[in-house]
Symmetry: C2
Subunit: 157 residues, 2 copies
DNA sequence: CGCATGTACTTGCAAACGCAACGATTGCAC
DNA sequence: GTGCAATCGTTGCGTTTGCAAGTACATGCG
């Protein structure tokens, strides 16, 4: 793509695999960030949170504790607290205490949250495909992209 | 590993590949961050920067512009400016203007920087291996880990 | 030569993050 | 029942980040 890629390729050091992973992640993340932020006033991680919580909600009720949510979105507990708070303030989420253990806090996606999520999903998916395609052109990123796409295709069930 | 993994696995939505990539990146990054920060007062991105610049330096002289450095470490230009400034203030890097184009700025790793890098490399590599091994135990992350390790082994030349 | 356009880096500012400290709740021992 | 350790979530604080605006340099045109 850019002439930079060559330099970057040459600059890869002792851990090209991790380097490529990092590079790929960064590019996809940036792309998603711009797309979601521009179209739906939603950050990539906010989208990720909604996605996770909505799928948790799939079966019966929301049963993820803040702890687990933090793991799921790959964030510290404090950051998760604020992330949830932010979305709660926007009316996209609702907290409620676990009846049996009042230390635990569950989170539900509100109808508004689900609506926004459904609305943002096409944007997200399109941006993801764009980023993946762009990265696939990079020789050093291609194998990773392939792995990712294989996972995307395989784990539908 | 943790019981959370099951929940996370179940929560993976329409883009399991990207999700797994994100998860893997986050875990490795966090692990590297802690290891490097604790042992060498160095953030993961600072290490990454030193690594890139030192390899750029391999051939002859430092010839990466801030622009390219930003791409290489997957950061915005502004963040790169400050990152370089920080390391420069610590005496690990040195800026110098491009003679032919005074807009461009090159960056060299100082002897102190190289020393710290050599000192930190084992920590980095060990932490990376740990994180990779830990992630390999995750069924959903295993294929990605495999790809990464294949790249690590293959692109030695 | 002087001016407009474009590129490269830096700085102002607000948002988000992680770590460590804290308050709240539970479980267990005595 | 009281006290102590462990767990869960939140808040204080400093650091890092990205976007947008600003400054310096280069290139092309009159």
């Amino acid at each position: 793509m850019t002439a930079t890629d060559d330099v970057v390729s040459a600059a890869v050091g002792a851990a090209p695999g991790w380097y490529a992973l990092s590079l790929l992640h960064g590019r996809i993340d940036a792309h998603l960030e711009r797309a979601l932020q521009g179209a739906h006033e939603l950050s990539a991680r906010e989208y990720s949170l909604l996605e996770v919580l909505s799928h948790q909600h799939d079966g019966e009720g929301g049963h993820l504790r803040m702890n687990q949510v933090a793991e799921a979105v790959v964030l510290s507990q404090s950051a998760t607290t604020r992330l949830v708070t932010r979305l709660e303030d926007r009316g996209l989420l609702a907290r409620y205490l676990c009846p049996t253990d009042r230390r635990g806090i569950y989170t539900d996606v509100t109808p508004a949250g689900l609506a926004l999520l459904d609305q943002a999903r096409p944007t997200h998916d399109a941006a993801l495909r764009e980023a993946l395609d762009a990265a696939g052109a990079d020789a050093r990123l291609a194998p990773l992209v392939e792995s990712v796409e294989r996972l995307n295709g395989a784990a539908v069930g």
